[in-house]
Amino acid sequence: MNAAVHQRTGQADAAEAFAGWLQGLGGNGDQNSAGGIDWLESEREQAAARVRTQLVPTNKSEGWRYTGLRKLIEQGFVNVDEPVTALTPDDIGEFLIPELDAHRVVLVNGRFSDALSSLGELPKGVRIGSLRDLLESDPASVKGVLTRIAGEGRHVFASLNTAAIDDGLVLQLDRGAIAERPIEVIHLSIGMDEPRVAQPRNLLSLGDGAQAQVIERYVSLGDALYCTNSVLEIALGRDAVLKHTRIQQESRNAFHITGLYLSQEANCRYAGTNIGLGGTWARTDLVTRFAGEHAECDLKGLYLAGDQQLIDYHMDVRHALPNCASRETFKGILYGKGRAVFDGLVYVARDAQKTDAEMSNRNLILSPNAEVDTKPQLEIYADDVKCSHGTTVGQIEPEMLFYLRSRGIAASLARRMLCLGFAGEIIDALGPESLRDYVAEQVGQRLEQAPLE
């Protein structure tokens, strides 16, 4: 009986738990950018209604077994209500990647910042702007895409984001357009007097044959406490190619949620690399749907979790059509009391013959107190497919460490070298050299500072 009571109290009402996230939304249309756009108002209202009927996931809920929400709810986050305008480009100097030549977009607490962005000259057929502006000037251009790819999303956080749609990044490439220089998107968070949640809604839409490289980064000023609840909808047309790097470097007190929803037409290719370094609690859902044959989805990841950190990656890759390929290659390094979750689901429907799916999750555990919960799942209903999965959890070989130390290399540097060697496969796949060097340095620094156990 005790257990039953416990469960009921655990199954709290989402609307109550996330009241602050919904604050100031709905009803009075002039508060946000959706005002006057009927279809969007309706999407938002439906999302808010979903939140009111949903329950907060508990450790009994599918997909939340190892990722408790109590800590997040206790913070009592309140929706960001006003833009931060006091920053100058000098303030973001410390976040820049040395020698990275890119079109740069900066969002501050979820709001697009013209003053901090430096787009430079964009190639023909490439448009970058704020969702807020676009909803004012040309809402028709996002109709049928915005909210359509994510749909109801995977869980309550997607509903919360949709209910709060206001601003974010919109990147649109016309048919055949090619952006040669990378597009860097910096999501900057700044702590406010009370804990705030920013809910940027981002849309990347590539027309047939378009190509782009997007580097998305989540950073913060100082050790601020805040929450990012970001949704990205990505639509790739036929033959389009998107190379997408996401580097999560939130403050060590931050909570981070990303839902990335991807729709892929025939022959297109998505190559995404997720680097998870920051935050005290981070949850990322990567969701792919193939809308045409011979499309490829390559999801790579590297996560590093130490004391006071939980990093969770969930993947949901659904093959409903034949001849598509998906790869999931995730590596994790855990130290101190760090915790990570990897949950990869690849679903192959009966008609999805000739599917080529591969999933691997390898983990290096540097401390007896660290933990990783890994769950690769293949659900296959077709009979002519090539699918595989593998998971490993291991430690640094003492032999390797000794070999390096016997050459005069300090134990902390030796460990850094071995971990970067382990992570090399993921880091090397990042595009420009400046980005690879930057990520290797960020990962390396963290490892060198981690206590030796």
Binding site: E397, P398, E399, M400, F402, Y403, L404, R405, S406, R407, G408, I409, A410, A411, L413, A414, M417, L418, L420, G421, F422, A423, G424, E425
Partner: protein, 250 residues
């Protein structure tokens, strides 16, 4: 240079070294020979600080410093070098990056500046030549996918680069064909100098045809039971270890 007195060491509960004495003077090359299981490799590992051994008695000093008070990297910085019997493969760790980190760690401990990229490359090329190694080796992960011969040559190459005071070669000849053995031995000989000492641990006399030792010691059951000049090695080759080990037991 190296002074080992009454060294005792065990693995778990099993004593392996049971009172080993050895004095090595600057410039000398000592060969340590002995049957399998006599404790030769244990001796090399204990000196270099590998985990898994417990020193239960005696002492080892390098230039007056107590080795057992030092971490493995501190011993290396002091000038101790172990050429591994089985060099460890480090997938994903670039060889050049590794060599640079090692060289700079050791230079720093000697109070020397880190080398700039140009001087470093020049030094590498010079040392690679001694071991007949191709510079493509620098771009590969450390020992990963190397042939047996390449691994052993890479060990001696590291020794050439790091210029230790005392080098311990642990069965460097094992698994080498005669051509590779000659290259490795030539490399080692090129590094002989009045300031540098070496301990050559081997099961076979063969290596000693190429690297001529000043002293030969026979290690059996955890102690040095016989020492002599290089002619002792020839005698061992001819008669095997049986006579000397049994002679000792009787």
């Amino acid at each position: 240079m190296l002074s080992v007195k009454g060294l005792k060491a065990s693995v778990g509960d099993e004593p392996i070294l049971k009172g080993l004495d050895l004095e090595v003077k600057p410039g000398e090359v000592h060969a340590i020979m002995g049957p399998n299981g006599s404790g030769k490799s244990t001796f090399a590992h204990v000196l270099s600080g590998r985990e898994g051994y417990e020193v239960t008695g005696g002492s080892a000093e390098l230039d007056g410093e107590d080795l057992f008070e030092l971490e493995p990297e501190e011993r290396a910085r002091l000038g101790l070098f172990l050429a591994f019997q089985y060099p460890v493969e480090l997938p994903g760790v670039n060889n050049m990056y590794f060599l640079k980190a090692a060289l700079n760690a050791i230079r720093k401990s000697r109070g020397e500046e880190e080398l700039d990229a140009v001087s470093f490359m020049r030094l590498m090329k010079e040392k690679l030549k001694i071991l007949h190694l191709d510079d493509s080796l620098l771009k590969r992960p450390v020992n990963f996918g190397f042939s047996g011969g390449e691994k052993k040559r890479n060990e001696i190459f590291q020794m050439a680069l790091l210029e230790p005071k005392l080098a311990i070669l642990d069965e460097t000849d094992s698994g080498l064909d005669i051509d590779a053995l000659r290259i490795v031995a030539d490399g080692v000989n090129a590094l002989r100098s009045p300031e540098r000492s070496m301990i050559v641990v081997t099961h076979y006399q063969r290596l000693l045809d190429y690297i001529q030792p000043d002293h030969v010691h026979v290690l059996a059951k955890g102690r040095i039971i016989r020492s002599g000049g290089k002619e002792l090695a020839l005698e061992l080759e001819e008669k095997g270890y049986g006579w000397i080990v049994e002679g000792e037991a009787a």
